[in-house]
């Protein structure tokens, strides 16, 4: 039995897509700064990267505020159940047409694997990228701030973080097509409403 659920509020959708665009843009400009791409020209790539980075920080600050005030942070609280079943589903079940072992509900819209992945993203990758980014832009003031490291090291961590983001993005974008029909998850995050069940 199919059911239409309102899963993602307007703020969440806005946040999600702004974040997606910013991260893709940060990846493009970042890897141009890195020397792997040539798209905008170095100067623009660098400036826009920093502007987009600041925008992402501001957006994230809003999102943290939103999650705390609405209690939506609970969606990311990790749970143990069903993780093996979900892994089995993506490895085998999905090809056999079996149903997803996890059923989305407005009060638990993220499956346990998602929870884990997003939690890692938010607790490790974001801070890593933001802290290194802060160091990169502030390196002229390190002596005053009492920071002792080398620009090179920080840049390496920032680059490593960038690769992790790219990795995440590939998997994440693909998994978004695994709904039934394939665009149902996408529709959910665009319109807010998603058909769940089968």
């Amino acid at each position: 039995m199919k059911q239409k659920l309102y899963l993602y509020s307007r703020f969440e959708r806005l946040w999600h897509w702004a974040q997606a665009i910013l991260i893709i843009f940060l990846l493009l400009t970042g890897f141009e700064i890195h020397g792997s791409l040539e798209l905008f020209g170095y100067e623009k790539a660098y400036l826009w990267h920093v502007y987009a980075g600041v925008a992402l920080v501001v957006l994230t600050a809003f999102a943290i505020f939103w999650h705390l005030t609405t209690g939506a942070w609970r969606h990311y609280w990790p749970v143990k159940e069903k993780i093996p079943q979900i892994c089995y589903y993506y490895a085998v079940g999905i090809f056999r047409g079996e149903p997803h072992p996890f059923e989305k509900r407005p009060d638990q819209k993220l499956n346990p694997l998602q929870r884990l992945a997003y939690l890692l993203l938010k607790l490790i990758l974001y801070p890593l990228q933001f802290i290194t980014a802060f160091l990169l832009v502030s390196y002229q003031w390190w002596p005053q701030l009492g920071i002792k490291t080398t620009f090179q090291k920080v840049a390496y961590y920032h680059t490593a973080g960038a690769f992790a983001f790219l990795f995440f993005l590939i998997i994440h974008a693909y998994l978004s097509t695994t709904g039934r029909p394939w665009y149902s998850h996408l529709r959910g995050i665009i319109l807010g409403w998603e058909e769940v069940g089968c």
């Binding site: 700064i33 890195h34 020397g35 792997s36 020209g41 170095y42 100067e43 660098y46 400036l47 920093v50 993506y90 999905i94 090809f95 047409g97 390196y139 002229q140 080398t150 620009f151 090179q152 840049a155 390496y156 680059t159 490593a160 960038a162 690769f163 790219l166 990795f167 590939i170 998997i171 693909y174 097509t177 695994t178």
Partner: protein, 436 residues
């Protein structure tokens, strides 16, 4: 006038290397200076129109005059200096207009803003001494002090008026927004000045006025045609071959080379043994990333081929000018005789053998600052390969540098992920098609 003869910068005309500071014994070099003057005298392009009488070598033969050289004398006699008065020597160093340095030539008498924003005749119209302030008649520069005096900061009167650094007038963070309150781009440009010299970005090309000599091969000098000396003009109207000088190459609008430079040079001194590891660097800028005074600085490399004594491993100081019978190269065109005479005069041993060796001098570039819109673009340096700073070590230069292993691992993981999702997706598509 007489002073000129000593200041002629003979050092580049021949192996009169190591002319490092004012303590250098000029009396040893006097003959070489005459040589220089002969060159300029016969050099057709030498402008005699600036109220400057034609140079006559004989006039300068007096030894006393050579000893009397000092810059304060020059400064006093040129009075309130004009660009011409300094330029009489400096534009023609190396024996011709712009020969030696790629950034000081006769176009600076009345340059456009395009050539030099400071000496722009219709604009700022600086004279040389606007920057090269003279304190107690000592012209600021590396001649009296090495490195040049003054600090890299605004030159307030309490610093005795030394003003020969770009920072003396512009400060260390010279890029300020004119309209906006804050401009991150300019902040970033300012962040460079602790490592990158102003000149590096603001002198994107050298020899923008007159062509400069980039290669000087003495080994071919002395050829004659039907008993007559040969002068063959090449591109830019400059000699490609000259019996007295050898093979010459010229260039215009050239890209500098870059080194760490703290304002001092290392020189190969006369009598210093040099291994035949070519090219021998005769004037080498000092400095490294660890040196807080050093900046990445632009240089003109001046390549050449000079006489060399392969047995004693010495650069030869040849005798060039003199009457027949003295061994002078320009009278007899015999390197062995000329070397014997020159080395004897320099008090150095000579084995009797003359070989030729590739050499290079580096000249720091500080003039012909281009208009601001011609300053180097980010990509000139921040590029994976072939950038201007490709050979600069000791800094992490984003875009050029990376941790190759990290890139490999990152790329590999992302590729694996991509492959994995592609296979997974393809399998899903195939299965769903079959099901239909």
């Amino acid at each position: 006038m007489a002073v000129t003869s000593n200041w002629c910068r003979c050092t580049s005309c021949h192996a009169g290397y190591g002319w490092k500071d004012k303590n250098f014994d000029f009396s040893e070099e006097k003959i070489d200076c005459l040589v220089c003057h002969d060159t300029t005298g016969t050099y057709k392009k030498f402008p005699t129109d600036c109220g400057y009488p034609p140079l006559k070598d004989k006039l300068f033969a007096g030894k006393k005059l050579f000893k009397a050289v000092n810059l304060s004398y020059v400064a006093q006699h040129v009075g309130h200096t004009t660009r011409e008065s300094c330029g009489k020597c400096h534009f023609y160093s190396g024996g011709g207009d712009g020969v030696k340095r790629g950034d000081i030539d006769s176009t600076l008498i009345a340059p456009s803003k395009e050539i030099d924003v400071h000496m722009d005749a219709k604009g700022l119209n600086f004279t040389c001494s606007t920057c090269h302030t003279t304190v107690a008649h000592e012209i600021d520069g590396r001649h009296y002090d090495s490195p040049a005096p003054g600090r890299r900061e605004l030159a307030f009167p309490r610093y005795e008026g030394h003003r020969v650094r770009c920072e003396s007038c512009h400060g260390v963070r010279p890029h300020k927004p004119s309209k906006k309150l804050f401009d991150w781009r300019l902040v970033k440009l300012n962040d460079h000045t602790d490592r990158v010299a102003c000149q590096t970005c603001h002198i994107p090309l050298y020899a923008r006025g007159k062509p400069t000599n980039i290669y000087w091969d003495w080994s071919t000098a002395g050829r004659h045609k039907d008993g007559k000396p040969i002068v063959k003009k090449g591109p830019f109207g400059r000699p490609e071959y000259h019996t007295k000088k050898g093979t010459l190459k010229w260039g215009k609008n050239l890209v500098p080379v870059y080194f760490w430079y703290n304002g001092t040079y290392s020189y190969v001194l006369p009598g210093e043994r040099v291994e035949k590891r070519e090219p021998v660097v005769i004037i080498r800028p000092n400095g490294s990333a660890e040196d807080p005074e050093a900046r990445i600085f632009p240089f003109k490399p001046h390549f050449g081929k000079q006489p060399y004594d392969p047995v004693n491993k010495l650069l030869i100081v040849p005798k060039l000018f003199g009457p027949k019978g003295s061994g002078a190269f320009w009278a007899e065109f015999d390197w062995k005789k000329s070397a014997a005479a020159g080395m004897a005069a320099a008090g150095l041993p000579f084995s009797g053998q003359v070989d030729f060796i590739e050499t290079v001098y580096y000249h720091a570039l500080s003039h012909m600052v281009a208009p601001k819109d011609k300053a180097l673009k980010c990509e000139a340096c921040h590029i994976r390969q072939g950038g201007r700073l490709a050979n600069i070590s000791g800094v992490y230069l984003p875009g050029r540098d990376r941790l190759v292993e990290l890139d490999k691992i990152g790329q590999a993981l992302c590729l694996i992920a991509l492959l994995f999702v592609s296979v997974h997706g393809l399998a899903r598509i195939i299965i769903s098609l079959k099901r239909k």
